[in-house]
């Protein structure tokens, strides 16, 4: 187990028990771990096998979290928690990439990290996050589906398993949620053109 794993486990437990501030401490640790993982992959021989992106994220979590200590109710619970966390991380990165200078609170986003997010997707990620937050108040199930699929990179089957609904429902709801978000974003944001 990596040295950070213990800390992360504690924080994850705290967070899943409803301590919102644990997330603040969790995010930087996860950044670091992701960077470390990515570096490790980068340093492999150029011809070496590459992991799929979602596998990379999952590997990060598996490494980060002491599975024996966090009593995940099940695999679904693990994904649900992880994906929420991932959403926060992604949106923070994207926001830093996208946003104008923010006044007030000091947020640390390193250039190296923020520049990883292509500018176009950064805007999209931020916009989706905002629209999704609004959608959650109206239609929790659809927002969960989008969160798992878009921010977590989960497949339709995995999403169905986490939410305990059929794959057909996931597909139908996913499509509708997508359209809804698209129309919301198109209504409030200018058409998508990478700047």
């Amino acid at each position: 187990m990596e040295p950070a794993a213990e800390e992360i486990t504690e924080l994850l437990i705290a967070w899943s028990n409803g301590q919102a501030d644990a997330l603040e401490n969790l995010i930087p640790v996860v950044y670091e771990e992701l960077r470390r993982l990515a570096r490790r992959h980068m340093n492999r021989e150029p011809a070496g096998p590459m992991l799929e992106t979602t596998e990379l994220i999952h590997e990060a979590y598996l490494k980060l979290v002491d599975q024996h200590r966090v009593r995940w109710q099940n695999r679904a619970h693990f994904f649900a928690i992880s994906v929420q966390l991932m959403r926060r991380i992604l949106v923070d990165l994207a926001r830093a990439r996208h946003a104008e200078r923010r006044g007030g609170g000091m947020e640390i986003v390193l250039l190296d990290e923020a520049s990883m997010v292509p500018r176009g997707s950064a805007r999209e990620i931020v916009a989706v996050d905002e629209a999704l937050t609004a959608l959650a108040k109206l239609d929790n199930r659809r927002s969960r589906i989008v969160e798992l699929r878009f921010f977590g990179g989960l497949s339709v089957e995995e999403t169905a398993e986490v939410l305990k609904i059929s794959t057909a429902t996931v597909m139908r709801e996913w499509k509708r949620a997508q359209a809804w978000l698209y129309s919301e974003i198109a209504g409030t944001h200018p058409p998508r053109h990478d700047s």
């Binding site: 992106t53 000091m106 640390i108 520049s115 990620i125 990179g153």
Partner: protein
């Protein structure tokens, strides 16, 4: 939007989606009826269904994770030609892209090619950054900066071709072990040189870190990657205009606080990062560490790094000063240019340059020359663990403030700004953009700033003399100062109600000191209590207890020559009764300040008469004393906030280095010690090249000896009271020194140590040319706390009856090379302001044959020149000391050294008069804020 509305929009949309396209309009007509808003929402949603196919198809996590990995995902380029560069293998990768070793096929030389990562390549800003980097770096031509050869584009991938440096990064070197001081200095001076050149060209690096420093095998250092640089010469406040404004640039552990805050970066930002690299190079760790980003940031913004010399006792204290100035949170408190820090590093490193010294010392000393490790004489006792949280931070740049006070609420610091224009009063408010002037500079002596209890006005003393003057009050917002009291000697204390003040007044006629209380308008003066010498009250500090009933001050028996006798007492203002707050005694008193709750008193005082003024906390209740600081600085003029969370002090550092010079060429002096000489009192070269010196051995100064190469160091006395003013006979067989106001002598191997004189105050021994006599200064009628008149005496080296040589007021004798004459300082009390003259006497004593005036700023001590035709002494002008020579037969005195900086504390000719040993250095005042005492 209400849930009902949302449901309704979705119902209508779902229904419409079930219908063929041509029937949807009719359906909407009926379903939405007159609700135009509903219809428009549904139409937009329907359109989205048609358009949104690829929207969200690629998970956000994939975009980001791709980028994490993708930075490295250039196709395998080995063997391929990019421009005129044939790729060989990848030598590095980072957030910006990859670096490949390649061969320039036209010139046949190796180059490093930096490729912009494909993920970033599509982002116009990234390429622009890359080219900006290239443009900037290529405008720099400096041996310590990696040269940029070329830029170009290959299949849409931007690249830079640059000098290939065969070596390893500083990061890689540090991953094995921290660097030795000498190696680190060698590296850092080169990095500083690169930065200096870039800064002069208006370019700030913005990302100084060990990864960007390459060490070549032959010792040459190259600085890489001006990739994040912004042009410093552009508007300082807008230096981010070239970069992406919303990002924090650089690498967190090496960032300056202003960079982390997203503020403007300038040359001083680089200096901070440079300080982190220096710290890491010497200790192996960056000073601000933490497991999380937020912890690192917290430390970066709030914490002061642990002094390097505490982490590694072999490191000189001077490194701590350099680090402190590099890592000051406020850019204004840092070095203001790389040139300044480079100069300080050079001074440190010159001492290590063995070759120069070997050349100079010629064959006799051609032994392996280490360096004069005179560093270790520090009486360090580790601070108690409860004080580990003590943080000391700079408030003003060094050398600026002579005196200061903190307001009761801690929001304002008032200080006296001493510069060429005189002394003015300014206010510093942490966080405020600029300091505010309260009183413009004037050529008068101003001191003893004190805040009124309400924090709205300031008191200060102004006068021509150092110790006396008139008390003034001025409002913080400025205006005309009000003269409160005409004649005040020493310090004063304001009552908690602000309506009275107390001070100690010396009556020189009767050698009496009185505690006096007066109204704040200076009236209704009354004497509370009086002490007569040798009992007395210290005039260096007193503080009113918060209940207003008593005053605390340091008092006691005036010191004998070296022993300490000061105690912290409270004087009851109603009765004049005194009681000791603690049994603890100090040798030398400083200032006193009571905490707002009256529970504790902070004192600055020296444990021994020749040790530093350190901070002590005394419990009012039980007299328990805790030492707060444990270093070799002097802390003076303490003030504290009413909650006692912050204490302000004027900190003075006395730094001395040893230099050696040939007597016939003092201007060619060379530095031989590397800083941190602690408590050095005298040093001289004996025949055969051994050095004798007196320096701290812990609680007292003792006499040490070592070879000139710094080896074979031995402590040859081990007295509990100091032994200093060491002198040596010309044949090198005998030493003489003073201790407790008596003259002692011993063989130079430390044997036959014996007391020769009985005081009460005998000092400054020196030998006759034949080595049979010891000449010294004796203070007749000397009385503790009052003084006496000095004159010259002599005593046989093996003991016997002292004989008085002169009846003038003389001290500091030196015997001419031919042994026939004595030169000595000659004091005339009718001109106390004037420098002591030099008087020359026959060796047998009597009347002076010549009295030679000396220029202003001349030191009392005097030595014969090697040829016996002139005398030499130190003259200090504006803090810079040089050796001057004056022919005893006439003519004007003239400097023989050309030092442009630093004081010259003393010099001593060697026993054979061919070599001089000089102690040079300076006293630097800092304002420091101390937190965490309670």
């Amino acid at each position: 939007m209400t849930p009902e509305r949302y449901r309704r929009i979705n119902e209508v949309t779902d229904e419409a989606l079930e219908l063929p396209h041509d029937r949807r309009a009719g359906y909407l007509e009926s379903a939405c009826a007159s609700d135009a808003e509903l219809r428009s929402a549904v139409e937009r949603l329907l359109m989205a269904h048609g358009e949104c196919d690829d929207f969200l198809a690629r998970p956000a996590v994939a975009s980001v994770a791709d980028a994490f990995i993708g930075a490295a995902r250039h196709p395998d380029l080995a063997g391929r030609l990019i421009g005129r560069y044939r790729m060989q293998h990848r030598i590095g990768a980072g957030g910006h892209g990859e670096v490949w070793l390649a061969e320039d096929v036209q010139l046949g030389r190796p180059v490093a090619v930096k490729l912009l990562s494909p993920e970033c390549a599509g982002i116009p800003g990234r390429a622009a950054n890359l080219y900006r980097e290239a443009r900037m770096s290529s405008s720099l031509n400096h041996p310590n900066i990696v040269t940029i050869y070329d830029t170009g584009e290959f299949e849409g991938i931007g690249f830079i071709a640059q000098e290939f440096v065969a070596g390893e990064t500083l990061r890689s070197a540090l991953s094995r072990a921290p660097m030795a001081l000498r190696d680190a200095l060698h590296m850092l001076i080169q990095v500083a040189s690169a930065l200096e050149s870039a800064h002069n060209a208006g370019i700030v690096h913005c990302d100084i870190k060990p990864e960007n420093v390459i060490l070549r095998g032959d010792g040459l250092v190259k600085v890489l990657d001006f990739g994040l640089a912004g042009f410093a010469r552009e508007n300082r406040g807008d230096s981010h205009s070239n970069g992406a404004p919303s990002f924090v640039m650089g690498t967190l552990k090496y960032m300056a606080p202003e960079q982390v805050r997203g503020g403007p970066a300038d040359v001083r930002t680089d200096l901070f990062s440079f300080g982190i690299v220096l710290y890491e190079a010497l200790s192996g760790n960056t000073p601000f560490t933490g497991d999380t980003t937020s912890e690192i940031v917290r430390q970066l913004i709030e914490s002061e790094p642990a002094p390097l010399s505490r982490r590694d006792r072999r490191l000189p204290r001077r490194i701590d000063r350099i680090v402190e100035r590099l890592l000051a949170k406020d850019p204004d408190l840092r070095y203001q240019s790389v040139a300044e820090v480079r100069r300080d590093l050079l001074r440190l490193s010159e001492a290590f340059d063995a070759r120069r010294l070997l050349r100079w010392l010629a064959p006799a000393a051609a032994i392996a020359f280490g360096f004069l490790a005179l560093v270790a004489y520090r009486a360090f006792v580790d601070a108690p663990s409860s004080l580990d949280q003590i943080q000391v931070s700079l408030v003003t740049p060094p050398g600026v403030a002579a005196d200061a006070a903190i307001s009761p609420d801690g929001l304002t610091i008032a200080y006296i700004l001493q510069d060429a224009g005189g002394a003015g009063i300014s206010l510093h408010r942490p966080g405020a953009a600029a300091n505010q002037q309260v009183l413009p500079a004037a050529r008068v002596n101003r001191r003893d700033l004190t805040f009124a209890p309400d924090g709205q006005s300031l008191y200060y003393v102004e006068g021509a003399a150092y110790w006396s003057g008139a008390l003034y009050r001025i409002a913080l917002r400025g205006g005309t100062p009000v003269r409160v009291f005409d004649h005040i000697t020493g310090r004063y204390a304001l009552a908690p109600d602000g309506r009275h003040f107390a001070f100690i007044r010396l009556d020189p006629e009767h050698w009496a000191e009185s505690l006096i209380v007066a109204d704040s308008d200076g009236h209704a003066e009354r004497i509370i209590s009086t002490r007569y010498r040798p009992q007395y009250y210290s005039r260096r500090g007193l503080s009113w207890a918060p209940d207003g009933a008593s005053v605390a001050c340091l008092a006691g028996n005036a010191p004998s020559y070296t022993a300490g006798a000061f105690q912290l007492i409270a004087i009851n203002l109603a009765t004049g009764a005194e009681h000791a707050i603690t049994k603890r005694m100090w040798a030398w008193p400083g200032s006193v300040t009571c905490s707002g709750d009256g529970q504790t008193i902070l004192v600055d005082a020296a444990q021994h008469s020749d040790s530093e003024l350190q901070l002590w906390r005394v419990s009012y209740r039980d007299g328990a004393v805790q030492r707060i600081t444990n270093d070799v600085s002097n802390y003076q003029r303490l003030t504290q906030t009413s909650d006692s969370r912050r204490v302000l002090a004027v900190r003075t550092n006395h730094e001395a280095d040893l230099w050696v010079a040939r007597a016939n060429n003092p201007a060619g002096a060379l530095q031989v010690s590397a800083g941190g000489l602690h408590d050095l009192n005298s040093a001289l070269l004996a025949p055969g090249g051994r050095l004798f010196f007196s320096a701290s051995s812990g609680d007292a100064r003792n006499i040490w000896t070592m070879n000139f190469n710094g080896l074979d160091r031995q402590q040859i006395t081990a007295g509990e009271s100091s032994r200093d003013e060491v002198a040596i006979s010309r044949d090198g067989r005998h030493l003489s020194y003073q201790s407790d106001g008596r003259i002692w002598s011993m063989n130079s191997d430390g044997s036959r140590d014996r007391q020769l004189t009985n005081g009460p105050l005998d000092t400054h021994p020196t030998f006759s040319a034949d080595g049979n006599w010891i000449l010294y200064t004796s203070f007749a009628g000397w009385s503790p706390g009052i003084g006496g008149q000095p004159s010259l005496w002599r005593i046989p080296v093996n003991g016997g009856n002292p004989q008085q040589l002169t009846r003038d007021a003389n001290s500091m004798a030196d015997v001419s090379p031919d042994g026939k004459w004595i030169a000595a300082a000659y004091y005339r009390y009718d001109h106390p302001q004037q420098s002591a003259a030099v008087a020359i006497y026959p060796f047998s004593g009597g009347r002076a044959v010549t009295v030679i005036e000396r220029p202003a700023g001349a030191d009392s001590s005097v030595f014969w020149s090697a040829d016996g035709n002139a005398v030499e002494y130190v003259v200090s002008t504006r803090g810079v000391g040089n050796i001057w020579r004056q022919n005893i037969h006439g003519g004007s005195p003239a400097p023989v050294t050309d030092f442009r900086t630093d004081g010259l504390f003393f010099f001593n000719p060697s026993a054979d008069r061919n070599t001089l040993v000089l102690a040079r250095g300076k006293d630097v005042n800092d304002l420091v804020l101390i937190r965490g005492i309670r």
